[in-house]
Every structure is written in structure tokens, then in C-alpha cells.
Amino acid sequence: MNMTLLAVTFLPLVGALVLLLMDNQPSRRNPAVLRWTALGFSVFTFLLSLPLLLTFQTGAGFGSGDMSFVTDVLWIIPWGIHFHIGVDGISLPLILLTTFLTPLALLSGWTSIEKRQKEFLILMLLLETGMLGVFVALDLFLFYLFWEFTLIPMILLIGIWGSDRRVYAAIKFFLYTAVGSLLMLIAILALVVIHANQTGQYTFDLLALKAGLKLDPAAQIWLFLAFFLAFAIKVPLWPLHTWLPDAHTEAPTPGSVILAGVLLKLGGYGMLRYNLGLFPDAARTLAPAIAILAIIGIIYGALVSFAQKDLKRLVAYSSVSHMGFVVLGIFSLNPLGISGAVLQMVNHGLSTGALFMLVGVIYERRHTRLLSEFGGLGISMPIYAALMLIITLSSLAVPGLNGFIGEFAILQGAFATNWIYAAFATVGMILAAVYLLWMYQQIFTGEIKNPANAAVRDLNRREIWSLVPIVIMVFVLGLYPALFLNIIVPAAQSLASQVIQHAALTLQFPFLP
């Protein structure tokens, strides 16, 4: 029983309950009391999660069944469902990302969310617990519970606070995700039943299943695919990505931040934890096909981004491209690629989250997302331009900023597996420069043609301080990624060593004569 992790996971839920009991009509003296309460809870959650990082013992992690901060209670006895949570080097960075981004996302919606504020805040906090739950769950039932739990607040966030086509986007998001999830549910049940047939014991516990399950190759592949579909939709992997631009475009700013920042990572995390963890043989068999899809996604997302006229859609497609790197890294099936993928998830969460916050800033001022409406903002909003520049550069993987480390590790990992992967994926890195700089150019450079652009205010203090933490992390992770890599690498190594036996740490150097 470890209280820290439990507290981190459920504190936002407590916050949501507290908000639920609060008066809908805030007092005249302190109109922002609801927002401050929600922010307080999320900040406190973040502070609580810091000890996780500081006291984390760099164990071998999930691969060896070595998890930290474990709580394991038998929950629903007849079916062997445990309340089993814990973290390892793969989930810890993502947990920190979640607790880090949620307060910032709340800040980004500080004034832009005007209607139904209380419900909004409650949903955001519920979403945080849901996401944290996915990352900490070590029981398939619990995992599925949290997995679906993240879906509902997100749909409502899009469907209630979104822009014009919000209902279409929300339903599309829901249907896509639900289709994947249901297949995963079937696969989970199949796993449990197969395990029960083999051992006579019902259990949903991930570690027990992992240790005790013997699957024949065909079953592995089918189950792998059922899990994979759910995760691939979430990531999203080409060609399952079309919900993303719609959802991102229609979602309110905080929703987009969380969606891009954390929700997409649930997919990548799921692939690592479940696809690689439970079905190593199938992962090995299918890795080339998946890697090719990932590479198509990388290039395709970048090309399509370039042709977008809507700022949010552009960033959304850039996510398709960047998350393609994550999938490629995972299915390079070596420690380099996997570590890079985890780091890239964190980096993408930071940079794309910040990008959406920045887009939200001008949307709030100009009520348009069309690139053609902007131009010359560099004159009227210098601070904004500077922050946007840093985030854009982080997103296009300039070394010294965070984006580079993850992408390079992924590319290097992919190169070690098959150099052709890396060659094509690197094209994505070039294209990132094309579309991101093009975007930057459209917004900030040139003369101010539209008088509305001359009148926009630069960032206010709240907006600056909601972005500064991310900018700091962009630099910290760019120059000292060991902060996370020291945690990630052992877990990645043990995971990779299971997938590829006896090739864990020594990669072949194929060219050496």
C-alpha cells in the first residue's frame, strides 16, 4: 500500500467531488473561487507527484515485474480482479507529464471558458484521474475501466465547450475510440479466459497474466491486433487518424492541450505496456508492418499539415507525424527506440500542448484560426512570437531543445533495426521544418495587413506564466535529458530484452567488416 501514488491518482477525483459540492454561483467577492479550487487541486497533485520522481528507485521495471509505489488489493474476488497500481520507468515520465500539463491546461482556459465553468473544471479533474489511472493500472480490468473513463470527460469537453462542429467531432471521436476499446475488451476477456483454462484461476492481474500465460502464435497475433487497434486509434496511427484533426479543431483550448498532451500518449503507453509486454512474439512478427505504417504516418502527417489553412488542424496533423515517430520507436524493438519513444511522448506532450495553448491565445483574441487571417503578429505581439518560436523549434527537433533527443534516439534505434526506416523517417524531420516554419511565417511575418492584427494585445501575465514552465522544461530536457532517461532506460532495456531475447543490449553493427 503506497499512499503517494494513490494520492496522486485520486486527488483530482477528490477535487472534482469538492467542486461538485461547491456553489455554482461564485460569490461576488471572489468570482474565480471555482477556478482557483480546481487549479489548487491540480497543482497539489503535481507537487505530490514530484516525490515519485525524486524517490523513484531505478529498478528494472515492468519487464522484470519490478514496479514501484505498488498498491495491490483484491477487489472483485470471484473474477480475481485486483486493485493493483504501480509505476515503472515507462509510466513515471508520463504521469509527471499529466500532472504537469493539467494545471497549465486549466490556466489556458482561465478566461476562455465562460459557460458552465463548474462542470468544465470537474470534467478536467476527472479526466486527470482517468489518465493517471491508465498509467498506473496494473490490472487489466482496472486499466480498461480507466481507459474508458478518460473517454467520457473528453467527449463532453469537445461536445459542450467546442466550436462550431463540436458535436460531429465529439461523436466521431467517441465512435472511433469506442470501436477500438471494445475490441480490446474482448481481447482482455479472452486473455483472462485462456489463462483460466490453463491454470484454473481467474485473474485480471497484468503481472500474473504476463508470468503465467502461454499463447500459441496465432492467438498472440489476434489478441495483439485487438489491443493494437485500440492503441493505434488513440495514438493515432495512419490511417486511423482522421478523428484527430476534427477533435482537435473543435475542442476548446484546454481540451486540445490535454488531448494532444496526454491522451494520445495513452496509445503509445498501451503499446509498450500491453502489446510489447504481453505479446512479444506477435510484436516481433508484426513490427515491420507497423513500422511502415508509422513511417507513412510521419511523412503523410507532415505533408498534409503543410496544406492546412486552419492553424489547429495544422498542429493536429503535426501530431500525427510526431506520434508516428513514437510508434516507430516502439517497434524498433530496441532500448534506444523504446527510450526515445517514451521521451518523445513527453516531449510531444510539452511542445504540442504548448502549441495548442498558444493557438488558443490568438483564437481568444481574434476568434479565428485561419492562417490567412494572421500575418505581422511579430510586430504587435513580440513576447508571443518569441514563445511560439521556442515551442516551434522544440517541435521541429532543434538540438538543444527537448524534441531532438527523443527523435534522434528513435531514429538511431530505427536505424539499428533497419536503416531504411530511419532514412524515410528522417524525411519527416525535414518536412517538420517546412510546415512549422511556414506556419510561423504565416502568423508572424510580413506587414500587418489586417488592422485587427495590429490591435491585439501581447500575452498577459497569466498566459506568460502558463507557458514559462513548459519553456523551462523544453530547455531542461533538451540539455539534460538524463533527468528522465535515467528512469526510462532501465525499463526500456528490460522490456526490449523480453521482446528480443539475448539481443537486449548489444546491437549488431552490420556494416563493420
Binding site: K172, L175, P239, H241, T242, Y300, L303, V304, F306, A307, Q308, Y317, P335, L336, S339, G340, G376, I379, L393, V398, P399, G400, F404, F408, A409, L411, Q412, F415, A416, W419, A422, A423, T426, M429, I430, A433, V434, L437, W438, Q441, F444, T445, G446, E447, L479, Y480, P481, A482, L485, N486, V489, A492, L505, T506, L507, F509, P510, F511, L512, P513
Partner: protein, 619 residues
Amino acid sequence: MFDLVVLVILLPLLGVIVNAFFGRRLGERWVSYIGPGAVGLSFLVALILVLSLAGLPVDQRHHETILWTWIPIGNFQVDLGFLLDPLSAVMILIITGVGFLIHIYSVGYMHGDPRFARYFTYLNLFVASMLTLVLGNNFLVLFMGWELVGLCSYLLIGFWFERVSASDAAVKAFVVNRIGDFGFILGVMLIWTTFGTLHFTEVFEAAEKSLQSGAPVAIAITLLLLIGATGKSAQIPLYVWLPDAMAGPTPVSALIHAATMVTAGVYMMARSHVLFELAPFTGQVVAWIGAATALLAASIGVAQYDIKKVLAYSTVSQLGFMVAAAGMGAFGAAMFHLTTHAFFKGLLFLGAGSVIHGVHDEQDMRKMGGLRSSMPTTFWTFVVAALALAGIPPLSGFFSKDEILATASSQNIGIYLLLTIAAFLTAFYIGRQVLMVFFGQARSDVHAHESPRVMTIPLIVLAVFAAIAGFFNLPGVGSFSGWLGEQAGELNLAVAAISTLLALAGLGLAWLLYGRSPVQQDQRDPLAVRLGPVFTLLERKWYVDEIVDLTIARPFKALCSFLAGEMDLGIVDGFVNGVAWLVSLFSRWLRTIQTGFVRSYALAMLLGAVLLIVYVATR
């Protein structure tokens, strides 16, 4: 003691931080102390370090400083570390020295610009990045600097971002450089996959030990690195960004696009010369690319009117000389030419900047003329640099260029011919420029004035170096080559005589066309009259930009909008929406079953009951 090398980078970085956060509040006066001051201090530190390095025995001139492990992933370990050895010593002296002068010059040039502080932020950042590039002790730190200088170049080209042409040029520069980086980064990955390390010394040791000359992997690595070099050092086919980059402030062109950043490719090849020496095939490719670029760019330079465009193509051309030298294995000669070029081309750009400043932001040489008398300092320093570029002895350019030509004459006569023609054209176009700008009558009614002293003093200092730098590496003595551990070039009298004569001929031809009877206002260029369509072809830069636009840019845009429109919305999303549409079609049909007549529902129930009983009874 040598750990102080960190300070060399840290000082400009400190300038960046101070200027970025407090620049606006400090005001122009303080910024103009902090910006150049940081680089000046950095230069002093660098000078002390290099002098003490020179005091060591030859085999100990190698010092590494490691800050921390940058990327630790299992056996992939990359340090954030710096290497001070003779090669990087030369580079840091050029960067901080020339950089310092250009910073001072900028104080005058950028005077009164509303974004004065931001300019120095970027410029300091550039110096820090360039130092990171040359000081990195492994390929990845080099790559970090490599990308960061590209970034600074982007920021500075697009410094006046209100101008669409400037921001276009900035994006073009960054993107074209990224295309080069594609090769470079793949090369880096191949290096690690091959040798298991990215650390320079370890890689080169392993390569020398395990690879034979001409090993395929060596060729692959070097070709990939070459792609990177063609991007950064503006070689065929990736040179197209450099002429456009002139949209930035002129001191930037001097520092980044003449003296330092564009030479990064040459530096990188010199740094990894061990690998290049193992791949003679790549050497051939490099040499031919360099020579072809030298000639092509020189030919375009002949027909330009923009004072900076001439210099830009000249830079491309001179970089071609360096790259050709590197390709032929004469890394010492390449580095030497790099050094002298930093002086005289930096000076040329600064002179051009002074001219532009003097004639109130006019860049068209057809509207200049006769500036000799109104801008004497600028004129004399410009002439020194021009003669150095043309290769007139005993100015610096003569020695460095001659060393390259001598190598070429002994190794590859084809390359020698290309380079010699390029040298002739160089003399011609720089003569044409000097004559058009400084001689004859003023061709517009702008009242030209000499630049302030803060700008002319750097010109004078650079002029001195442009004049005497050749003596650092006299043929047969070769103190510079010796410092780099290379053999001194030999004096090939025939080659020297031919090139000197050709240079004089080029200058003479320029005088015949432009000096004897100076071009009048609204008069057609005499060369254009004589060459006709060929001149137009050269003036339009062989239509390369148009060809690129037609064959790459447009199809690319079309592909993108096809993918975004027909493909993504049409097919991929269309498939999804199609499935949804099918479901709703089925549902609409299914809906008609709900007639609303209770009795038909009852009938359905009865049917169900009948069937259920059949099922139960027959089971």
C-alpha cells in the same frame, strides 16, 4: 586550464541571456557594450587558450572538457563535451575575432533599429552556436551547433520580418539546410551503428583500425556527411539558399554567410578527414562538386547588379574552392583558404554594408558609382579585399587560392581547369564591382557619406589581416599547415604565374568594359551588350530558382494539397464517413420496420415465440 574553453561559449551565451531579457530595458547604449563585449571577452579567452595550446608539444595539443553525459541510453552514450585542438583553435579564433569586429561594426550599422537588442541577442547566440559547432567533441554536439547556427541564420535572415522576401529567404535557408541535415544525421547514425560511438577520437581510431581504404561503409558515411556539407556550405545542388540569404542585415551576411557558418561544411570535412581519406571515391565526388560550384557561382556572379548578390555568389564560388580542396585531401589548404576568406570576404561584405549604409539602403550597383571620393576608407579597404579575392600577390587570397590550385594541378587536371576559369571570372566580377561602385560618376542623386568610425575601424583591421594573412602559410614554410599537422603546400611557380596572370587579365577585362568608359545612368551593362542572351541566362542565375520552383516546390505543394484534400478528406476520412453513411443507410431501412402499429409488433413477437418453441422442441 583548458576547461576554460567552456567560458568561450558561455560568455556569448551570457550576452544572449542579458540581451534577451533586459535588452529592451537597458537601451541601445548598454546593449552595444554587452553584445560586442561578450564576444570580445570570449575572443580574449580563446586567444589565451590557443596561445597556451601552442605552448604545448605537438602531440599534447588535444584537450577535452566534458560537462555531462548528454544522452545516456544504454550503450548509446553521448557527452556534452568540448574538444580544443589545433583545428578548433583556428576556428574559434576566426569566429570570435572576426565575430568581434563584426559586432562592433554592427553597433554602427544597426544604430537606431527598434529591435537593436534583439539583433545582438541573435548575433551572440550565433557566435555561441558556432563555437559549439567547432568545439564539440563528438558528432552530435557538432550537429547541435550545426542546427543552431542554421537557426540563427534563419532568425537573422528574417530579422526584418516585415519584408516578405526576408522571411521567405529565411525559411528557404532553414529548409534547404535541413535537407542537408537529412544526410548529415543519417551519416551520424551510420557512424554510431558502425563504430558504436560518436566521439571523434574514438570514431577515427576505430575507423583507422578496422576500415580499409575504399570500404563501402566509409564511402556511405562520407557521402552522407557530404550531403550535410553541401547544405551548410552552399554547394551544388543546395547552394540556392545563400544568395537569398542576403535579405538579412549586411553584417550578418558578413559574419554568417561569408566568414563562419558557411564554412562549417568545410570544417566538418576537415574534422572527419580520417573518414574522408578512407573513401577516395567520396573525395572525387567532393572535389568535382566543389569545382563545379566554384565555376557555376562565379559565372552567375559576373552578371549580378545587386552589390550583395555579387558577393554572395562569390562566397559560393570560394566555398567551392575550399570544398574542392577538401575533396582532394588538401584539408590544410582548405582551412587556410577558409581563414583568409573569412578576412577578405567578411571585409567585402562589411564594405558593401558601409556602401549601402552610405547611399541610404540602395543595393543596386547601377545606381551607385563614384563613391571613391565620398567614402575613402570604405573604398581603400574594399580594394584591398577585392585584390585579395582576385588573387593578386602578395595579398592573402593569392596564397590560399594558389595552394588549392597547385594541389589540383598535381592531382586532377579537370578540376584544375574548372577552378582556374573560376579564378579568372572571380577577378573579373570583383573588378567589375569595384569599378561600378567606386569609379565613374554617381548614377543617382543620393548624397553618399562615409560611415561612422565604429564601422570603419573594423574595416581597417580586417583589411590588414586580408592583406597579410597569406604570410601565415607561405608555400614551403607552412606554419599554418604545420599547426594543423598537415604538410606545407609547395610553390608551383607555373601555377602561380598562370593564376596571377589570369587574375590580372580578369581585372584588366573589367577595366576595359567598365573602367575605361564608366557606365552612365540608364546605360545598359556593357557586358550585357556583348554577351546578349548568355548574359540574361547568367543574370537569371541559369534559371535554377525557376527550375527548382517548377520541378520541386510546385509539385510538392500540389502533392500536399492533394494529400490534404482528395486523399485525407476524400479517401481516408471518406472511408470512415462512408462506413458511417452505410450504417445510417441500413438504419434508415431498419427504421421502417418500426411501423408504429402495435399489432405488427405483436405479430413479430408471435413469430419469435413460434420459432423459439421450434428451437426448444427440436434441440
